[in-house]
Amino acid sequence: MVGGMTSASVARWTSDERIAVARLAGLDQMTTARLRSLLLGRRPGAAVGRVLDGAVEHEPVGRLLRRDPAVAHRWRAQLAERSAARIGAELADLDVRVLGPEDPEWPPPLLVDPDPPPALFVCGRLDTTVRRVAVVGTRNPTAGGLEIAARFGHGLASAGVAVVSGLALGIDGAAHRGALAAAEASLVAVVANGHDRPYPKRHAALWREVTRHGAVVSEWPPGTAPEAHRFPRRNRIIAAMSEAVIVVESRERGGSLLTARDAAERGVEVMAVPGAPGARAAAGTNKLVQDGAALVVDVDDVLTFLQLDHSGAGRLPADPRPAPSGDEMVVLGALRDGPTTVDRLAGRLGLDLGVAAMHLARLERSGWAFEVDGWFEALDEWARLLDSAGVGEQGTPATRGDAASITPERQVNSGVGSVLGAVGAHDVCS
């Protein structure tokens, strides 16, 4: 399938052809397989012509058109509406380029992928010479998980590795923020929607930042909504583009396990950061370790795998936080042993509740501790890599309503033994 496509379209797409691909990709009910079959063995302009004529016999588009003749009408109408001029202007406005497999920027691993995207919509610069590692995880992490993600992001970026992630809330965002804190960061964000509306909205600034230091990549053209089914599909591209996928925190049925599965299917190294037994935020990653994922606790572990020099990776400037006073130091020491509540801390240190609350509040205000839902966690120097939006997302008001519908988690079939071994069977997206 792959070979056929690449050999048929030998020459690179012209700029008009790139616009034609964008016109086709934005059609109703367009899927990876359908777009791939439309472009198989013909130039994009010819493919548009075929659609306009309604003369597509190829599976699976032909099957769709035979089953539902209305689609052909709708597509014709949409192509008229999605005129070359309009789409061209839209792409130019958003500074989005359409990449095909023949382009030098096309990530080489996608050339041999079993399920490659027919085209990529890219904003920013996609460097094929740089090595790429994905850092993914839950959208609902602990403060400790955010720190680790940021640490990995920063360490990888400092060693010259591009950090690939999904730009989701939580771990994904923290990894990118950490990478951005490095001197010469190179980032790749693979998103599930079009470039016209950054999603999640809370990461709009981060989105822009990533385009400046790398690329935001999508399989779909501007105008595509962040629909639930697109997220697991997006995950395969994250996995395919990377040399290794590091899962930082994931629940038992977390969406990042899908990325891990995609990686395992492609022979991409899966690495997992373990958590305490019983910690629900780490249930998925612990399972990954059980299933044979490489256990990593530090950036060095990853750099060693990549056979990169890791001396001096991730060195940070001096910590600007005021040093805690004597008693606060004791409390901070206790916090470092694990998350705790005022109640528990007071009991453990034999403090008055008020005094315990006072020390914790002061540590929190000065940035040494972080509180969510009554639990305090100590923050090491890496906390600084997470800027306000990254961690504050836990409780800030919802900006849009469709997040609830996007639950790639539910698609993991955890009943099938090994998470990594469970291949096929649950490809609910097709």
């Binding site: 839950t138 959208r139 609902n140 992490p141 602990t142 403060a143 400790g144 998980g145 809330l169 629940r251 910690a279 629900r280 935020a281 780490a282 600007p320 936080r321 998350p339 509540t341 005022v342 109640d343 528990r344 007071a346 009991g347 509740l353 008020g354 005094v355 609350a357 006072m358 914790l360 509040a361 002061r362 205000r365 000065s366 940035g367 972080f370 509180e371 969510v372 839902d373 009554g374 639990w375 923050l379 906390a383 600084r384 997470l386 800027d387 306000s388 990254g390 961690v391 504050g392 997302e393 836990q394 409780g395 800030t396 008001p397 919802a398 309503g401 997040a403 609830a404 639950t407 988690e409």
Partner: protein
């Protein structure tokens, strides 16, 4: 041929005196009730006729007209049955008119002539202040609390005819068997561990602060909340009388002794209708849960599950201490000085707060769940407390927590201190008084300033924290300036549901 009998009807939580006039005259046999009776009153015709017949007397087969004076307000309820029956018997000559002088009657009739209790005897008897009252045996407790004259009890229409018509002595019904003591309130000693939530309860009791518990299912929120009334001092005479009136009017069983002495604890289910919570219904305007809880605690478990419209109707009574219920035909004012205690899960899956990262809901979903409780209502809670599941060693520990008796004593001392100092509970401290009554130490001022500068505390929140910190200090027996640990405790006890703060904020400086 004519008789006039004193009785009364219930309206909201108040009684209204009604004169039942009965006229028996020649004409086609008929039995009419006029004077704006509602259906329940009109139905009493059949009960009265059957009851009189079952005593062996003949119901007059002429024209019987009953007028309920004053005729303007609509009358409701079956409490007029006995008065109507007595009126018919007097007008028909079975009872001499002079026998009913100086008497008022309240009660419902059974078809066999038995006399049954009705709701609202206390407020009705309260307005019949110029007569001795005759009430059903089961209502004696309520009547005694409110009556200014003597209270006679009857169990059957025959007894009444014997007493009034044949000068028999009033029947002597033994008072209902009272348990020697009040039913025991749950004890705080049952709560193991949970020092913060326990402190919150103590502060709520001592300062009159509204309290919200946020925590995963099974963390003991309901158990904690049900122990608040035990910490509150008993009601003073006036408040107890008011509470008794409302309880009686709402048909809620009164405690032994009749007077509602202990602060009520009401926990309506989250499917409760607006009328059942704030009061109302049609023209009877029955007191709602907020009125029944007046003087005590209204506990709303699963707060976000209540209809938002129901919750928002609580805001005005919370401020005013009364609720004015109006319908097209009538309106009334009911007491609503309740302390609001609520409990909720932190998110739909409920596990948020069990441990960091335990929740699988996602921030947006949890946020939408919490947002079902409106900001203005949340703002009324001075205490917003995270409740974590108790630690295993605490659950297994044989050592009981501090008992209600011990804590209640500290609460009483703190309340006395507050009322001696400023004449009100700390929750109601006017803001201008705060600098006099709740001065801050330099340390405490610095901590509060830091919170304000971080934008985590609004101006209003600042005052609330100071009031709460005053209570924290009072409970600790500290009457002087408020220290940093008191302020920190107050801040900590308002922390639940606050949006998580950024760790990077201080970087901007």
């Amino acid at each position: 041929m004519y008789a006039r009998i004193r009785s009364g009807v219930l309206f909201g939580a108040r009684g209204h005196g009604v004169d039942v006039e009965v006229h028996v005259a020649n004409g086609l046999p008929a039995f009419q009730i006029v004077g704006l009776p509602d259906t329940t009153v009109r139905e009493s015709r059949d009960r009265v006729r059957a009851a009189i017949q079952s005593t062996g007397r003949k119901f007059p087969d002429v024209r019987v007209t009953v007028n309920l004076a004053p005729s303007e307000p609509r009358k409701s309820g079956s409490g007029l049955d006995v008065a109507i029956a007595v009126g018919v018997l007097v007008a028909d000559g079975h009872i001499p008119p002079e026998a009913i002088a100086g008497l008022g009657f309240v009660g419902e009739l059974g078809l066999d002539g038995s006399i049954r209790p009705v709701a609202g005897v206390a407020p009705i008897v309260g307005v019949l202040d110029d007569v001795d009252v005759v009430v059903p045996v089961g209502s004696e407790r309520e009547a005694v609390v409110a009556a200014s004259g003597r209270v006679r009890t009857v169990s059957h229409l025959v007894e009444l005819i014997d007493t009034l018509g044949f000068d028999a002595p009033w029947p002597d019904h033994p008072p209902e068997h009272d348990a020697a003591t009040l039913p025991s309130e749950p004890d705080l000693a049952d709560v193991r561990g949970q020092r913060m939530p326990r402190l919150a309860l103590e502060l709520a009791a001592a300062g009159g602060h509204h309290l919200l518990f946020v925590g995963p299912p099974g963390s003991g929120k309901t158990m904690l909340a049900s122990r608040l009334p035990g910490l509150l001092p008993s009601l003073e005479r006036d408040a107890a009388l008011d509470a008794t009136m409302v309880h009686s009017a709402a048909g809620v069983a009164l405690p032994p002794g009749g007077l509602v002495v202990r602060p009520p604890f009401r926990c309506p289910h989250h499917t409760s209708s607006q009328a059942s919570i704030v009061g109302g219904g049609t023209h009877t305007l029955r007191p709602g849960e907020i009125s029944i809880a007046s003087g005590g605690v209204l506990f709303l478990d699963e707060l976000p599950e209540f209809a938002p419209t129901v919750l928002d109707t609580l805001r005005q009574p919370l401020e005013a201490g009364v609720v004015h219920v109006a319908r097209a035909a009538a309106s009334t004012t009911l007491p609503a000085r309740f302390q609001l205690v609520a409990a909720m899960n932190p998110c739909p899956c409920g596990s948020r707060g069990e441990s960091p990262g335990a929740c699988s809901c996602g921030a947006d979903r949890a946020q939408r769940y919490v947002a079902r409780v409106s900001g203005p209502l949340l703002d009324r809670f001075d205490l917003r407390v995270n409740v974590e599941p108790p630690e295993v060693e605490h659950i297994m520990s044989a050592e009981p927590g501090e008992s209600t008796a011990v804590v209640a004593e500290r609460v009483a001392t703190a309340r006395d201190l507050a009322s001696f100092r400023q004449g009100c509970l700390n929750a109601f401290l006017p803001a201008p008084l705060l600098d006099d009554v709740a001065p801050l130490t330099t340390d405490a001022r610095r901590d509060l300033r830091a919170e304000l500068e971080l934008g985590r505390l609004s101006g209003r929140g600042y005052h609330r924290v100071r009031r709460l910190a005053r209570t924290v200090a009072d409970v600790a027996g500290h009457d002087g300036a408020i220290g940093a640990s008191h302020v920190s405790t107050a801040l900590e006890l308002r922390r639940a549901l606050r949006p998580a703060q950024s760790v990077g904020r201080w970087l901007a400086a």
